[in-house]
C-alpha cells in the first residue's frame, strides 16, 4: 500500500475527513431534510458532510501524486498515561471524592515524563489535590465530595 501513498499525512487526514463526512451524510438522512426555503435539521449537516467528503477525497488523491514525510510513531506511553489519568479521574471522582482521585491523576500523569521520581510526584499529588479540592469545593462550591462515599464518609 505504501508504494502508492506518497504523502501519508495527506492520505490519513483525507481518510479522516471523508469518513467523518460520509458518516455525517448517512446520519443526517434520519433527520428531516426540508427544502432550501425551509431548511430542516438534516439540510445543513448534509451540505457540510458533502463538502467534507469532497475535501477528503481530494486530499487522498493528492497523497498519490506528491511526496511527503512519514507521520512518525505515536508516543503511546505518554498518550496512555496522560489521557488514562484523566479518564481515571472521571471514573473515580464521584465515588472516591475529589482529593483521592486528583491525587491518583497527578501520579499517573506525572509518570509520563522521563524525569518522573516517585517522591516528588507524591508530594506534587498531595499538594495540588488538597489545594484544588479545598479551593473548588470549599471556595467555589463545586458539588463534589472532597473524600467520597466509597470511603464511608
Amino acid at each position: 500500500m505504501s508504494v502508492f501513498i506518497k504523502h501519508p499525512r495527506d492520505f490519513f487526514a483525507g481518510l479522516m475527513y471523508a469518513s467523518v463526512g460520509i458518516g455525517a451524510i448517512v446520519m443526517a438522512q434520519e433527520y428531516n431534510m426540508g427544502t432550501s426555503v425551509r431548511m430542516g435539521p438534516g439540510y445543513f449537516p448534509t451540505l457540510l458532510g458533502g463538502f467534507l467528503t469532497l475535501i477528503g477525497v481530494i486530499s487522498m488523491i493528492r497523497s498519490f501524486l506528491h511526496a511527503g514525510e512519514t507521520i512518525g510513531a505515536f508516543c503511546w506511553k505518554e498518550i496512555a498515561l496522560v489521557l488514562g489519568s484523566v479518564v481515571l479521574f472521571g471514573v473515580l471522582a464521584r465515588g472516591a471524592g475529589l482529593a483521592p482521585s486528583l491525587m491518583l491523576m497527578v501520579l499517573v500523569s506525572a509518570w509520563a515524563s522521563d524525569r518522573f521520581k516517585l517522591g516528588t510526584a507524591l508530594a506534587l499529588a498531595v499538594v495540588s489535590s488538597v489545594f484544588s479540592a479545598l479551593v473548588f469545593v470549599k471556595g467555589l462550591g463545586l458539588p463534589f465530595a472532597i473524600v467520597g462515599p466509597w470511603f464511608g464518609m
Binding site: 499525512r9 490519513f12 487526514a13 483525507g14 479522516m16 475527513y17 467523518v20 463526512g21 455525517a24 446520519m27 443526517a28 433527520y31 428531516n32 427544502t35 432550501s36 426555503v37 425551509r38 431548511m39 435539521p41 439540510y43 445543513f44 449537516p45 457540510l48 463538502f51 467534507l52 475535501i55 477528503g56 486530499s59 493528492r62 507521520i71 512518525g72 505515536f74 508516543c75 505518554e78 498518550i79 496522560v82 489521557l83 489519568s85 484523566v86 479518564v87 472521571g90 471514573v91 471522582a93 464521584r94 486528583l102 491523576m105 497527578v106 500523569s109 506525572a110 509520563a112 515524563s113 516528588t120 506534587l124 495540588s128 489535590s129 484544588s132 467555589l140 463545586l142 458539588p143 463534589f144
Partner: protein, 499 residues
C-alpha cells in the same frame, strides 16, 4: 464629545477597586502563562472560566482580556530571552529580539517591546472607541445574508492564517462546523449526531473542546519533544532606552500600530498576521546598518507594537459583530454567553458600561504591564526555566477540575480526553486546530443565518451575491483564498511560516 463621554463611562467602570484588582490579576496571570512553557492563553482562559462564574460579567471579561494581552507580553519575553516564542504572535519577535539578546542587549529588546506595546495599546484603545460604535450601527443593518457572508469571510481569513496546506485548513473548518451542530437543533428540536446519548444533547461544550485540544493535546506534544530551554541571559540589565534610541523606534512603533490596528479589525486577522506584516514593512524601510534577523531593533519594535494593536482591535469584530477572529476571542464569546450576554451589535447599546469598561481596562492593563513587568523581569526570567515535568500534572488537574465544574458531569471529562487524543493526532497530521475551533463556534450561527437568508429569499441561493454588501464580503473572502493559491505568494507564505 460622544467618545469622551463613552470613555469616561468606561474609565469610571474600570477604575472601580474590584475591576482594577482583577485587571491586575489578569495581566499578571497572563504574563505568567506567557512565560511558562507549554501553556497558552486559550487553555488558561478556559481553565479560569469556572472561577469567573460568580463575578460580575464586566469583571470577568476584564480579567480574561488581561490574560490575553498579558500572555502576549510574556510570550515576547520568552521569544527574546530563550528564542522560544511563547505565543504564535511573538514568533517574529524571536528573530531579531533573540539576536539582540545574544549580543547582550536583552534589556534593550525587552524595553523596546514593552514601550512599543504600550504605545500601540494606547492608540488602539482610542481606535476601538472611535470605530466600534459606527461598526455596530452598520451591523445592526445587516440582514441574515450579510451575516452569513461575513462568517464566510471570517473562516476564509482563518485559512489564510493557518500554517501548512489550504486543503487541510478547509477540512478542519468543515470538521469544526459539523462538530458545532452536534446536539439539539434550536429550530426543530431534533437531536443531531448524539448517538442517542443524553450527555450529548446539549452539544459539545467549547471549553471541553479547547481544553482537550490546547490543554491535554499540547501536553502530550510537549512530552514527546523532550526539549529543554536554554536561557540566554540569567540576569537582565539595561532596561532603559536612551532618548535617541526612543526616537529611533518611534516610527516603527507607529507604523506597526497602524498595520496591526487595521489587520486586527478583519475577522480572522489579529495579532499573528499583524506582526508578520509589520516585520515585512520594517524590513523594506529599514536604514539600520544591522541587517534584519541579526538583531535590528526595528524588527522588535514594529512587530511587537503591531501584535499588541492587532490583539486589541480584534476585540472590535468580537464585541460589535459577535464574530471571533481567533480562538482566544472565541473563548471570550463563550465567557460572555456564560454570563448570558449575547455578543453582537446590541452589546454596545444594552451594556454600555460593560463595553466601555472592558475597553478602558485594556489601557489600564497595558499600563500595569509596563510599570510592573519591567521591574519584575527577574522573576519572569526564573520562571522561564520552570521544570515542565512538575508543571504539566498541575495543568492536567486544572483542566480536569475546570471541565468537571461546567456541568458537574464526568462525561465532559471523558470527552476532553477524547479531544486530547484528537488534538495530538491533528498535530501529527499537521492539521491545525485553530480553524476547527472557529468553525465550531461559527457552525450554529452559520446554519441559522443561512436558514433565515434562504427563508427570506424563498430558497434562492443568489441572494448572497445580489445583495451588494453580502457580495462584497464574499468577493473579499474569495480574494483572500485566491491570494493563498497564487504560487508566488504561497511560496512567500511558506517561507514566513518557516521562519
Amino acid at each position: 464629545m460622544d467618545i469622551l463621554a463613552n470613555l469616561s463611562l468606561g474609565f469610571s467602570t474600570a477604575f472601580s477597586l474590584g475591576n482594577l484588582f482583577y485587571c491586575f490579576i489578569g495581566v499578571v496571570l497572563g504574563t505568567l502563562i506567557g512565560v511558562l512553557p507549554g501553556l497558552g492563553p486559550v487553555a488558561t482562559i478556559a481553565m479560569l472560566l469556572p472561577v469567573t462564574y460568580r463575578f460580575e460579567p464586566v469583571t470577568a471579561l476584564i480579567m480574561l482580556a488581561g490574560i490575553f494581552y498579558g500572555a502576549q507580553y510574556g510570550g515576547s519575553t520568552t521569544a527574546i530571552l530563550v528564542n522560544l516564542p511563547g505565543e504564535a504572535s511573538s514568533v517574529i519577535t524571536a528573530l531579531d529580539g533573540h539576536a539582540m539578546a545574544r549580543r547582550g542587549e536583552a534589556g534593550k529588546a525587552l524595553a523596546t517591546a514593552a514601550i512599543g506595546s504600550f504605545i500601540a495599546g494606547t492608540i488602539a484603545t482610542f481606535l476601538i472607541a472611535l470605530f466600534a460604535p459606527p461598526l455596530a450601527e452598520m451591523a445592526l443593518k445587516f440582514g441574515p445574508a450579510e451575516y452569513f457572508s461575513l462568517l464566510v469571510l471570517g473562516l476564509a481569513v482563518s485559512i489564510v492564517l493557518a500554517h501548512g496546506s489550504l486543503l487541510h485548513a478547509l477540512g478542519m473548518i468543515f470538521l469544526g462546523l459539523l462538530l458545532g451542530i452536534v446536539g439539539t437543533d434550536v429550530n426543530s428540536g431534533a437531536t443531531r449526531f448524539t448517538f442517542g446519548q443524553d450527555w450529548l444533547a446539549d452539544g459539545v461544550n467549547f471549553v471541553v473542546l479547547a481544553m482537550g485540544m490546547y490543554g491535554l493535546g499540547e501536553i502530550i506534544n510537549n512530552l514527546e519533544k523532550k526539549g529543554t530551554r536554554e536561557l540566554m541571559a540569567r540576569s537582565v540589565s539595561g532596561l532603559r532606552l536612551s532618548w535617541k534610541e526612543f526616537k529611533g523606534i518611534l516610527a516603527p512603533v507607529l507604523r506597526g500600530t497602524a498595520v496591526g490596528s487595521f489587520l486586527g479589525i478583519l475577522p480572522g486577522g489579529g495579532a499573528v498576521l499583524s506582526s508578520f506584516a509589520s516585520y515585512a514593512v520594517e524590513k523594506k524601510l529599514s536604514k539600520n546598518p544591522i541587517p534584519f534577523g541579526e538583531g535590528a531593533i526595528e524588527g522588535v519594535a514594529g512587530p511587537e507594537s503591531a501584535n499588541n494593536a492587532g490583539s486589541q482591535t480584534s476585540f472590535i469584530p468580537m464585541l460589535t459583530l459577535g464574530i471571533p477572529s481567533n480562538p482566544t476571542m472565541a473563548i471570550m464569546i463563550g465567557a460572555m454567553m456564560i454570563h448570558s450576554i449575547q455578543p453582537g451589535p446590541s452589546v454596545l447599546t444594552e451594556q454600555p458600561a460593560l463595553f466601555w469598561g472592558l475597553i478602558a481596562s485594556m489601557w489600564i492593563g497595558n499600563f500595569f504591564l509596563i510599570v510592573l513587568n519591567l521591574p519584575m523581569i527577574g522573576l519572569w526570567v526564573k520562571l522561564i526555566t520552570a521544570p515542565y515535568h512538575l508543571m504539566f500534572p498541575v495543568i492536567v488537574v486544572f483542566c480536569a477540575i475546570g471541565v468537571v465544574s461546567i456541568n458537574n458531569s464526568e462525561w465532559d471529562v471523558f470527552m476532553m480526553a477524547f479531544f486530547g487524543f484528537a488534538g495530538y493526532m491533528f498535530s501529527k497530521l499537521e492539521c491545525e486546530p485553530a480553524p476547527m475551533l472557529l468553525g465550531f463556534i461559527l457552525g450554529p450561527m452559520m446554519e441559522e443565518y443561512l436558514r433565515r437568508a434562504l427563508l427570506m429569499s424563498s430558497g434562492d441561493f443568489s441572494v448572497f451575491v445580489t445583495r451588494p454588501l453580502s457580495a462584497i464580503l464574499l468577493v473579499v473572502a474569495a480574494a483572500a483564498l485566491a491570494v493563498v493559491l497564487l504560487p508566488s505568494i504561497s511560496q512567500k507564505r511558506e517561507e514566513t511560516f518557516k521562519e
